[in-house]
Subunit: 337 residues, 2 copies
């Protein structure tokens, strides 16, 4: 069943059918009705490939997810797919390992699939101008932004939280409750990405509090997973540890660390408090309920799509910083009482 068949069956030309298909105004009500009828009757669907070919663009948006392991992305991906779907776009998703290059991957997809745009989930933010030149469609960075100012903000969009400030805020929450020896559970603090920003916030808070930084208390995990969080904390606890609280840069890592802490005989929050950033679903149900700064995941996905579609339709790039909300759980002990 092709457009020709529909044309024949409706007794009109193919261009009229095409007009109906594309909701063009210049069709008589009479023709439109007939064509629509035939289409419905035969359950006809236009061939996407043919459309993409002639339009030299598809109705497709690419999503490149970096760092496969992060469960925190799930809700965002869902929101993105859903929103895209509503807008009549198709999402093609590709996952890449933390070490892979999202720009290269995006560039390949862009041309292979004739994408309208790209969304990067969890990427680096330090693209070089040469790299950026590979990308000829608008893109938005979801969950991160170029906080270092090396990218021209008018060339891309982003949706993120204020990672540095939120980390600062989390640590300050601990300080408010009387904690002074505060460890950080982070991933590589030097990868010019989210972990670095959150680590910086932690460091700034300590500085402001006049707490001397202890190298021993910066616990570095391999990635953002529960496993890594647990492993890193276990490793750390083999040596004497007298911090009274931990700031974890991600919920999952916190959950892993909590297990390690318990294994060492510490109970939470009696012997050691913990606060994190993310607010994944499950962390609200575990015991003790994790105290954390919740990211608005659905909004992050939705806003990313909105920004992208805005640019596709001719709008300008923009940068959104979304607020987190503190979920007061049960994992932080008040030392002042």
């Amino acid at each position: 069943m092709t457009i020709k068949d529909i044309a024949k069956l409706s007794g009109v030309g193919v261009s009229t059918v095409s007009r109906v298909l594309n909701d063009r105004p210049d069709v008589s009500e009479e023709s439109r009705r007939r064509v629509l009828e035939v289409i419905a009757e035969h359950n006809y669907l236009p061939n996407n490939s043919a459309r993409s070919l002639v339009r030299t663009k598809s109705d497709t948006v690419g999503l490149v997810v970096r760092g496969v392991q992060n469960p925190f992305y799930t809700d965002i991906i869902r929101a993105i797919e859903h929103k895209l779907d509503l807008a009549g776009y198709t999402m093609v998703m590709r996952q890449i390992a933390s070490g892979d290059d999202e720009v290269k991957c995006g560039a390949v997809m862009e041309r292979e699939k004739r994408l309208q745009g790209l969304i990067f989930l969890g990427g680096r933010s330090d693209y070089s101008p040469a790299e950026l030149a590979l990308l000829n469609v608008p893109f938005v960075c979801c969950t991160y932004t170029n906080a270092y100012g090396t990218l021209d903000p008018s060339k891309y969009s982003s949706v993120s939280i204020a990672d540095e400030q939120e980390a600062y805020r989390a640590v300050m929450e601990l300080a408010k409750k009387g904690h002074r020896r505060i460890a950080a559970l982070t991933a590589d603090p030097d990868d010019s990405s989210i972990s670095q920003l959150r680590y910086s916030g932690y460091a700034r808070a300590l500085r402001e509090l006049g707490i001397p930084p202890e190298e021993e208390d910066v616990i570095c995990a391999d990635d953002f997973t529960v496993e890594s969080g647990c492993r890193a904390m276990r490793e750390r606890l083999k040596r004497p540890a007298d911090f009274t609280a931990v700031f974890a840069i991600a919920d999952d890592m916190a959950i892993g660390a909590m297990r390690a802490l318990r294994e060492s005989g510490r109970s939470i929050p009696e012997d050691c408090s913990i606060i994190a950033i993310d607010g994944i679903n499950v962390s609200e149900y575990i015991h003790p309920m994790l105290t954390t700064l919740c990211q608005p995941m659905t909004a992050m996905g939705t806003k990313s799509v909105e920004l992208l579609l805005g640019v596709i339709r001719g709008g300008a790039h923009d940068h959104l910083t979304l607020p987190t909300t503190l979920r007061a759980g049960e994992s932080v002990r008040d030392l002042t009482k």
Copy 2:
């Protein structure tokens, strides 16, 4: 940059370029080398839409995920995307709500995108012949199968666990530890799907154990989420409850239920044991570690793709039942000691 440009630049005809592109043997080494060189030099990528158009098929496989909420799917989706990627296919994913019809959605995708095949994740299994007629490409059901024999097994593939038996096994584990009053935390037990199968296994175990079923002890949640599990258990605990153990049909529901149980003053496993099925990552790290039957998620995704590609390449449909592995956690108390 099109195939014509490459042809011109290499001093050959378009068909030669096409042959090189498609790894055909009938090209002289000389030509192949030159074409490949030009392609590399100009960073040329063939237009997917044009290829799909003329081949009347794309290199695309559709994934329809039903029941957006289930976090258990994440790993499977990852495995599917990864495997598909390795095989040179592209995955387009669409999520639908629990109430939506995956077959209809798949049929639309199939024709719009000229799919090679479909994978359904978490669907119903009671398709009618009329519905199936909508699907003209091979498909595989991932995580479920038509356990009721209403579908011709040669018409589709499936990868699943033996839901009924595994549920039976889980309940028997509890019985082994001396539990007799065993509640079931399930979703709708009548939706001819996974929850029904697992509920049946529970019921069969009770029957075999000679334990009279208590209607009160079948706790029905709205869906498979932590929230629902928690809510359902909270509701149940408003009335007297003297079951010593709970069989939850999903890890997430179990985690939710654990919170509700604790809220009611019960500690786990001292006052109430709990066992589940799924084996999601996080349930191994929570406290107490959840005792559960782990599904081989990665294998389920990988195998689904293998089956599908097999059929696409002319093979026959097949049905895989994968084994679970018992993870002995800390959530089940041994009453016999």
